[in-house]
């Protein structure tokens, strides 16, 4: 091996190690948080209220990571993420309830999650094909529109199951014409009830790790490079032969599928499901996690989702004022994190500190 090659290999090794470390830190962070929270739970040092939001926090973390794939890495603003969560929740819930005791619990839940992700991914792809031609705010409003459409249409879906098969109606559960032994599964605006409550905090964290595995490995691969180059400069990406639309669609589809997985986790947590939960406010909430945590910053998404989900519960003592404080904190955090004046101020303060960090060159 000659000198040049040695030198090149050294540089490559450094870059690779940095990348590996970056990926590993994220896993370690999630596992550490899990260990701490589990510790608190087993020692009984955690309030019931907080215990109740453990699984939802996992749901939001998955949703935030997956939305970050679209917003941060593909560079498109999507306001319809809740729609995909909704699809995942309903299809998985339908499956679990339809199968009932026909399969062992764990296996049924596993299949339900796969089904939720699969359907959400398919719908994501079908929506993405026409929609990803649009840009910027137009794309945002159309994704919002699709999210609302999904919710609205599910509101008039009635489905049931009996020995003759699956019945479907858009009017009422009476119109399903079920046999006497048949069961109603989806009841329009009432949604689905009595879904088996299979979700646990541990399963939630496992799904978070699965999401991380998929998203991080995707980003650090050929496809991820194509996705990010399209984000940074579409015209240049085309000029080097990258099929831009295909990779945008891929990011969108994977993101939708992961959101579907989050939805499945959600559905099997409380056991009751209706569409009103999955309105645009939910989409926006997830977007808030992504932006507040730093666009394209996965660890940031995770932390923002955890903090902002826990915050309203922590503020519960302040009763009526909690949402007010939440809103003020949100605005303050945005100004602090994004306003150029605030950033310059932080930079000055950092320089004055004796152990101030130097600006990082590579993230």
């Amino acid at each position: 091996m000659n000198k040049t090659e040695e030198y090149q290999n050294e540089i490559l090794k450094k870059i690779k190690n940095k990348e590996r470390l970056n990926i590993a830190i994220t896993y370690v962070m999630v596992i550490a948080i899990y260990a701490i929270v589990q510790g608190l739970v087993t020692t009984g040092n955690i309030s019931n209220l907080l215990k109740g939001i453990l699984v939802p926090t996992c749901v939001y973390v998955i949703a935030a990571i997956s939305l970050n794939l679209v917003v941060g890495f593909s560079g498109e603003l999507s306001l319809g993420h809740a729609g995909f969560m909704c699809i995942g929740a309903f299809t998985s819930g339908f499956f679990s309830k339809a199968v009932g005791d026909g399969l062992p619990d764990g296996f049924r839940f596993f299949l339900a999650i796969v089904i939720g992700a699969l359907f959400a991914g398919i719908v994501g792809m079908l929506i993405g094909i026409p929609v990803l031609r649009l840009k910027g705010d137009y794309l945002a409003i159309v994704t919002l529109a699709f999210g609302e459409i999904i919710k609205n249409l599910l509101n008039v879906v009635y489905m049931g199951l009996d020995s003759r098969g699956i019945h479907f109606s858009t009017k009422s559960s009476m119109d399903l014409g079920l046999e006497s032994g048949g069961k109603k599964i989806i009841e329009g605006a009432l949604g689905i009830s009595k879904i088996p409550k299979n979700s646990t905090f541990t399963i939630g964290v496992i799904l978070v790790l699965v999401t991380l595995f998929i998203v991080q490995n995707l980003i650090h691969s050929r496809a991820g490079r194509a996705i990010m180059s399209t984000r940074d400069n579409r015209i240049a990406a085309e000029s080097i032969g990258i099929p831009v639309t295909r990779f945008k669609l891929m990011a969108f589809t994977v993101s939708a599928a992961l959101a579907g997985m989050a939805g499945a986790l959600y559905a099997h947590n409380i056991g009751k499901l209706n569409t009103s939960k999955f309105d645009y406010n939910m989409s926006i909430l997830v977007l808030v996690f992504v932006v507040l945590g730093g666009i394209g910053n996965i660890r940031g998404s995770i932390l923002a989702a955890i903090i902002l989900t826990a915050l309203p519960e922590m503020l519960r003592g302040l009763s009526d004022y909690r949402m007010l404080i939440y809103a003020v904190l949100l605005i303050a955090m945005m100004l602090f994190n994004w306003a150029p004046a605030a950033l310059a101020f932080r930079e000055r303060v950092r320089e004055k500190l004796p152990f101030g960090r130097k600006k990082k060159e590579v993230e």
Partner: protein, 305 residues
């Protein structure tokens, strides 16, 4: 089609225009702010709600007549809009991502909703007939086959006046020209001596004043007010603005009215229409955007290589 089914169609159409005209007033505010400040002001819908609460409070607490209450609401919302812009949006105008100000706007929206919740309670508040901006029996046409309420007539007159006034303002006055310049190219406008900050403040003032008008009209036409009342009309107006081509004044008006008509006709004529009318509105929007990616009246700008 016989005469009475035709008249019922006309009646639905009329209700659609009435609702759509309110959307149009809100959409005008959205579209001006978007065109000039280049941001989606998600809190715009909540300013409507604030406007309605101010006018209601004026009437119940001070016994002011509806017109005075409306004027106070306009002043209040104008101040509110300018303050929001100054405190929450202006510091982020040069932020590295346009999403920053979008999320902040969402924060402002939460803030307004929860302030209203704290002050006025969860509601819903209603309104007495004499507190409406206009009251009295409806105008009856075709031997009672078609009744047009006075508020509908007022709303339509309002949108026409507002439309004419805005068009005149933008095209014929110095400040209007400054707005056009800022919307075209902010930096170039700045170099040419246009007061960009002042122009954007003015835009927010106008948009918020319109929101106050829309709030009072909406509350008079649909008398049920909660802290979340502004949210859905806000979203719909946003859709209307995009529909018409965001940034375009006639686009916002036509988009708003079409949206109102589609929504009302869908409710009337489609099975389970009241549940899926929103879905239909959104589906039409998507359809229009796929054919005309910049909306009905929007300019399609291509990136220069």
């Amino acid at each position: 089609m016989n005469f009475s089914t035709f008249m019922s169609f006309v009646s639905y159409l009329k209700d659609g225009i009435s609702l759509g005209a309110v959307y149009a007033i809100i959409a005008l505010g959205y579209t001006m702010v978007y065109g000039i400040a280049k941001m989606l002001n998600f809190a715009h819908g909540d300013v409507i709600m604030v406007g309605a609460y101010i006018s209601l409070t004026m009437m119940t607490k001070t016994g002011a007549p509806p017109v005075v209450a409306l004027l106070v609401a306009i002043v209040g919302c104008t101040l509110l809009g300018v303050t929001i812009e100054f405190v929450a949006y202006r510091p982020l105008r040069k932020a590295s991502s346009p999403l920053a100000v979008l999320i902040t706007a969402i924060g402002v929206s939460y803030l307004l909703q929860n302030l209203a919740l704290k002050i006025f309670g969860a509601g819903p508040e209603s309104i007495r007939d004499e507190q409406k901006i206009i009251s009295g029996s409806p105008v009856v046409l075709f031997n009672g086959q078609l009744a047009i309420s006075r508020i509908t007539i007022l709303i339509v007159i309002c949108i026409i006046i507002i439309m004419c006034a805005l068009t005149w303002f933008v095209n014929r006055t110095r400040r209007g020209h400054a707005m056009l310049a800022v919307s075209e190219d902010r930096d170039a406008a700045q170099l040419m001596g246009v007061n960009v900050n002042g122009t954007i403040s003015l835009t927010f003032a106008i948009g918020s004043a319109l929101a106050a008008v829309a709030g009072v009209l909406l509350f008079s036409a649909y008398p049920s007010l909660t802290p979340y009342t502004g949210s859905m009309p806000g979203i719909k107006a946003f859709v209307a603005a995009v529909f018409g081509g965001i940034g375009s004044i006639p686009g916002a008006m036509i988009g708003g009215i079409l949206l109102g008509i589609i929504e009302n006709l869908a409710k009337a004529y489609i099975p389970s229409g009241s549940q899926v009318s929103d879905a239909i509105v959104f589906a039409v929007l998507i359809f229009v955007l796929l054919i005309r990616p910049a909306g009905l009246f929007g300019k399609n700008i291509q990136e220069k290589v």
